[in-house]
């Protein structure tokens, strides 16, 4: 019999990582294709000048740094959520064991109780965002099934990961679900709204506009999809 499990745990993992990194590179390239250097006045290029400009615009003020208009509770929750999602999978013991088996090296790992707490945090924040989407008029007014799906794609690996660690509901099948959920998330990041994890840095630091955190050296080149290929992905 064709070994589906073997495929999901083997080649498909590598394929997902290839799509993930390839997709991110593609998005970065698209950014440079679709934008150009602006001739508009902007802060000096020196690092100190840049820092001064950023401080002036309050971007290093923790109260206004990234979430100028967000409620403090929302700012804390979304920061914790994003930090855990990025950090936890990289420094998880189980993932680093696999890393060692494949490449002969591993990274710093979180103690298991800390990892468990972070997983809980992600799940709790996910439920918070879900309820916020449903209960708050202004968020519900702009929510589509796509937005719920994105949230689910992000939460699924953490939920299944937690269940797998606890060995609930049959370890083998939950583990396969966990791997599938992780692969889906990796593939989705460059090609869905999740790409904001990368493009955030380009738009907030490089684009020239009112709330730029960096020099704001670039602007849209007015390129259309029809002349320069499909930029919609």
């Amino acid at each position: 019999m064709y070994d589906v499990y073997g495929f999901i745990r083997g080649p498909m993992v590598w394929l997902s990582f290839a799509i993930f990194f390839g997709g991110l590179l593609y998005q970065a390239r698209q950014f440079y294709v679709l934008t150009m250097e602006t001739s508009l006045p902007r802060p000096p290029a020196s690092v100190t000048g840049l820092a001064k400009g950023a401080v002036k615009r309050s971007s290093f003020d923790p109260r206004t740094m990234l979430f100028a208009s967000a409620h403090p509770v929302l700012a804390v929750i979304t920061t914790a959520f994003h930090a855990c999602i990025i950090i936890l999978p990289v420094f998880l013991l189980a993932h680093n064991v696999l890393l060692f088996e494949s490449f002969g090296f591993s990274l710093f790992v979180f103690p298991e109780p800390v990892a468990g707490l972070m997983t809980w945090l992600v799940i709790f924040c996910g439920i918070f965002f879900l309820l916020r989407r449903i209960l708050f008029d202004h968020v519900r007014a702009i929510s589509t099934p796509y937005d719920y799906a994105i949230l689910l794609i992000v939460i699924a690996p953490f939920l299944t990961g937690y269940l797998a660690t606890r060995q609930w509901f049959g370890y083998e099948s939950i583990l396969v679900l966990h791997i599938l959920a992780g692969e889906l998330m990796l593939v989705a990041i460059p090609f869905t709204k999740l790409k904001h994890g990368l493009l955030f840095f380009f738009y907030r630091y490089l684009m020239h506009y009112e709330h730029t955190l960096g020099r704001g050296s670039r602007t849209w080149s007015g390129t259309t999809l029809h002349k320069r290929g499909n930029a919609n992905a």
Binding site: A68, L74, H138, T144, K193, L199, H211, T224, L225
Partner: protein, 131 residues
């Protein structure tokens, strides 16, 4: 050319305008994670006690977003319908703050241009007050 008298719009011209900036606008519309964080940065949203119609992203999604979705195939009543969203509900003050870097006023400005190209203007004398 749009015929103001006959209440028609030039869909080909609208499509051309949309196309001229689609790499930017479609991308950004697609990039918005619909989090609603921008809401409270808009003083008009606050002044209207949290009416979603004054939320920055709502204004763009329901005007320019629909124009792109329909590829410009809209009629005059569509423009009459979004007129309030892009003029009365926004003063282009550039205060709205999106943590992931969406420049909302730039999009509203573009939507206004499309409206004007089809002979649709704000009713400054028609009781559409800002507050």
């Amino acid at each position: 050319m749009p015929d103001v008298e006959k209440n028609t719009v030039d869909t080909a011209a609208i499509a051309t305008m949309l196309q001229s900036k689609d790499a930017e606008m479609k991308r950004i519309l697609n990039y918005c994670v619909r989090c609603g964080i921008c809401a409270e940065s808009c003083f008009l949203y606050m002044a209207h006690k949290g009416d979603p119609q004054y939320m920055p992203s709502y204004k763009v999604i329901n005007s320019l977003g629909i124009l792109y979705k329909k590829k410009g195939n809209v009629d005059k009543s569509f423009f009459e319908g979004i007129k309030g969203l892009v003029w009365r509900n926004c003063v282009l003050c550039h205060r709205c703050y999106c943590p992931i870097g969406i420049d909302i006023p730039r999009m509203i400005d573009f939507t206004r241009s499309i409206c004007r190209s089809q002979g649709v203007y704000p009713d400054h004398d028609g009781g559409e007050s800002w507050l």
